[in-house]
C-alpha cells in the first residue's frame, strides 16, 4: 500500500528565503557593475540588498494561485454584467463620463506602470526587489487588460469609449496622466520607485480607487466595482512595496535622505495634480455620491498621509513641500476643473453638464465655505446663458502648465479670486506654470521638461490650428462623443433602453 509521505511544509519566512534569495546568484564572468549599470547614477547608496524584504513574503507560487482566483471572480461578474444588460442598471448615463476619463487617462497609466516595473525589476540588483517588481509588472498589465475588457461592454452601447488609445496618445487632457508616467519612466530606477511605488501607490491611489470604486457600487456599475477592487487588492501589496523601498533607501545610508526627500516633494505634487481629475469625477460625475472629494481627502490624505509622514519622521523625512498648498486647494479644485471641462466640452471625448439644483444643494452642503460664494454664481450664470440659447463655450485654447500639462485654471493658494500663474525663462524661451509646485519641479530639471509635448501648441505646429482636422486626428466624433450631456445621444439611448427594459412597449 502506498503511504503518502507528508513532507514537512516550510514556514513562510523560510519559503520566502528559498523562493527569492536562493534564486539569485553571484555573477562569474561579468561584474555586478556591468550587469546593473543604472543603480548608481542617481546618487542612492545601497550597502546590502539582502536587507530588503517583502513584508507579505509573497512568493511566485502563491502569487499565481491568488491572482488566478482574482481573475475567476472578476470574469464571473463581467460575464453576468454582459449577460444581464448590466449597463442599464446604472443610476444614469452621466456616470459614464467618469468611466471614459478612467479608460482614456488612467488605464493606459496602468500599462505604463507595467513597462516601468518590468524595467526596474531588471535594473535593481536585489533578488527580493526583483521578484516584487516582477509581480507588480504582471499586476499592472492585468489591471490595464481587465479595465479595458470591463469597459468594452459599455463601448457596445455608448459614445466616447471607441478610441481610447488615440485619446491616450493625442487628446489634451490625457496628456496630464501620460506626462506623469512618461516622467517617471524616463527617470532612474529609484526615482521611479518613489514616483509610482510610494507617491502614487501609497499616498494617492487610495483616493482614486477606494471611494471612487465604492461610488461605482453606489451607482450600479458592477463591472467597474469588480475591476476596481480586483486591481485594488494588488495595490495593498504595491503600497507596501513602495513603503518598504523608501524605508530601505533611508536605512541604507544617511546620504540618501535629501535625494529621497526631493523626490517625495516632486512626486507628491505631480500626483496631486493628476488626481485633480479624480476630484471632479467624485464631486460632479457620480450621480449618487458616497463621499465628497473633501471627505476622501480628510481620510486618505490628512489622516493617512499624516500618519505616514509622522512614521517616516524618524528618518528625518518631512511632509512634502506642496502639502499646505494642496490643503488650500481641496475645497476649490473639483469646481474649478468642472467649470473648465464644461467650457471646453467641444474638445472632450466625454460629456459634462451643468449641475442640477439638487447637485448644487449637495455641493454647497459639502463645501460650505466655498461653493455658494465662488462657484454657484458661475453655474447660475452659465445656466442662464444656456436657457437664453447662448450656451457658454470657450473656443479659445487653454494655457497649459509646462510641467503637469493641465490648463492653468487654478487659483492662488489663499485667494480664490485670483488665477494662479507662474512663468520662468530658460535659454531665452518663456515657460508657463499652474503653481509654485510645478515651477519648482521644472527649474530643478529644465532640460527634461522643455522636451514636453504639449497638446495645445501641437494643434498649431502639427495641424495648423484646424480644430476639425484635430478632431479627426484624435478620433473624436463631433456631436456624439463631446459636448453637453443634456441632449446627447448617450442620454437619449440610455433613457430609451432603460424604458424598453422595464416595459413591453
Amino acid at each position: 500500500m502506498d503511504m503518502k509521505a507528508t513532507k514537512k511544509k516550510l514556514g513562510m519566512k523560510e519559503r520566502y528565503r528559498v523562493l527569492t534569495r536562493d534564486l539569485g546568484w553571484e555573477p562569474g564572468y561579468q561584474s555586478k557593475e556591468a550587469i546593473f549599470p543604472y543603480v548608481r547614477y542617481e546618487g542612492i547608496k545601497v550597502h546590502d540588498w539582502d536587507k530588503w524584504e517583502d513584508p507579505f513574503r509573497l512568493t511566485m507560487d502563491a502569487y499565481w494561485k491568488y491572482q488566478a482566483e482574482k481573475e475567476r471572480k472578476f470574469y464571473a461578474i463581467i460575464d453576468a454584467h454582459a449577460q444581464n444588460n448590466g449597463h442599464l442598471n446604472l443610476t444614469d448615463a452621466r456616470y459614464l463620463s467618469a468611466l471614459k476619463i478612467f479608460l482614456q487617462a488612467i488605464s493606459p497609466g496602468e500599462y505604463a506602470a507595467h513597462k516601468g516595473f518590468a524595467r526596474i525589476g531588471r535594473e535593481f540588483p536585489g533578488v527580493g526587489t526583483q521578484v516584487a517588481c516582477q509581480m507588480q509588472a504582471i499586476d499592472e498589465i492585468r489591471h490595464a487588460q481587465t479595465q479595458i475588457h470591463a469597459m468594452s461592454n459599455y463601448n457596445r452601447y455608448y459614445d466616447g469609449f471607441h478610441a481610447f488609445a488615440d485619446a491616450r496618445d493625442r487628446i489634451w487632457y490625457t496628456s496630464v496622466a501620460r506626462s506623469f508616467f512618461d516622467d517617471a519612466m524616463s527617470a532612474g530606477p529609484f526615482e521611479f520607485m518613489i514616483a509610482i511605488g510610494f507617491s502614487f501607490e501609497y499616498v494617492l491611489t487610495n483616493l482614486l480607487f477606494v471611494p471612487f470604486m465604492s461610488g461605482a457600487a453606489y451607482n450600479g456599475d458592477m463591472a467597474t466595482v469588480t475591476f476596481g477592487f480586483s486591481a485594488q487588492s494588488d495595490e495593498a501589496r504595491h503600497m507596501t512595496l513602495g513603503l518598504e523601498c523608501i524605508k530601505f533607501m533611508l536605512e541604507q545610508d544617511p546620504d540618501n535622505l535629501p535625494i529621497v526627500q526631493g523626490w517625495i516633494d516632486k512626486w507628491f505634487w505631480r500626483g496631486f495634480r493628476v488626481l485633480g481629475l479624480v476630484s471632479t469625477m467624485m464631486d460632479y460625475m457620480l450621480p449618487k455620491r458616497v463621499m465628497s472629494w473633501r471627505e476622501a481627502w480628510e481620510i486618505y490624505g490628512v489622516e493617512n498621509g499624516g500618519a505616514l509622514f509622522r512614521d517616516l519622521a524618524r528618518y528625518g523625512i518631512r511632509p512634502p513641500k506642496g502639502w499646505d498648498d494642496a490643503e488650500k486647494a481641496i475645497d476649490h479644485m473639483s469646481h474649478q476643473f468642472m467649470l473648465g471641462l464644461y467650457q471646453w466640452s467641444f474638445g472632450t471625448a466625454f460629456h459634462s453638464w451643468i449641475p442640477s439644483d439638487d447637485d448644487m444643494a449637495w455641493l454647497s452642503a459639502k463645501y460650505p465655505d466655498t461653493f455658494d460664494r465662488h462657484y454657484r454664481p458661475r453655474w447660475a450664470h452659465i445656466k442662464q446663458l444656456k436657457a437664453a440659447g447662448t450656451p457658454f463655450k470657450n473656443y479659445g485654447l487653454a494655457r497649459l502648465c509646462q510641467c503637469c500639462q493641465l490648463p492653468c485654471v487654478f487659483t492662488e493658494p489663499g485667494d480664490p479670486t485670483l488665477t494662479c500663474h507662474r512663468e520662468t525663462v530658460y535659454k531665452g524661451e518663456k515657460y508657463q506654470f499652474c503653481s509654485d509646485g510645478c515651477k519648482d519641479i521644472f527649474e530643478h530639471e529644465p532640460e527634461k521638461y522643455i522636451q514636453a509635448w504639449l497638446p495645445m501648441p501641437a494643434l498649431f505646429s502639427e495641424l495648423g490650428g484646424d480644430v476639425a482636422a484635430w478632431m479627426d486626428w484624435v478620433s473624436l466624433r463631433d456631436g456624439a462623443d463631446n459636448g453637453d450631456y443634456d441632449g446627447s445621444r448617450d442620454q437619449r439611448h440610455f433613457d430609451e433602453w432603460r424604458g424598453l427594459a422595464t416595459s413591453n412597449l
Binding site: 513584508p55 491568488y66 457600487a217 487588492s233 493617512n304 499624516g306 509622522r310
Partner: protein, 89 residues
C-alpha cells in the same frame, strides 16, 4: 495616535474574517461602506489566523487575505499566524 486600517471587500468570504478582526481588536472601529468594509484602529491592528479559522470553521492561510483585500495602512509584518499593521511614533 495615528490610525492604521485595513479595508476588505464586503462578501461572504470576508464576513467571518471581519468578525475575527473585531474579536482580536476590541479597540477597532468597523465602517461599512458600499461594497467594502474599512476597519480602523489606533496605532496597531492584528489579524490572527487562529481566530479566523474558528470563525470560518476551516483551515485558513493568511495569504488568502490578498484575494479580498482592498487597501491597508501602516507598516506590515506577516508570518503564518499573524498579520500586523502598526505605525512607529
Amino acid at each position: 495616535m495615528s490610525t492604521v486600517f485595513i479595508a476588505l471587500q464586503a462578501n461572504e468570504e470576508t464576513r467571518p474574517i471581519i468578525d475575527a478582526i473585531e474579536i482580536d481588536n476590541p479597540q477597532a472601529v468597523v465602517n461599512r461602506q458600499p461594497a467594502m468594509v474599512k476597519i480602523d484602529a489606533p496605532g496597531r491592528l492584528v489579524v490572527r489566523r487562529e481566530t479566523i479559522e474558528e470563525q470560518l470553521g476551516r483551515a485558513y492561510d493568511l495569504q488568502e487575505l490578498q484575494i479580498n483585500l482592498i487597501t491597508l495602512s501602516g507598516n506590515v509584518d506577516e508570518d503564518e499566524d499573524t498579520l500586523t499593521l502598526s505605525w512607529n511614533e
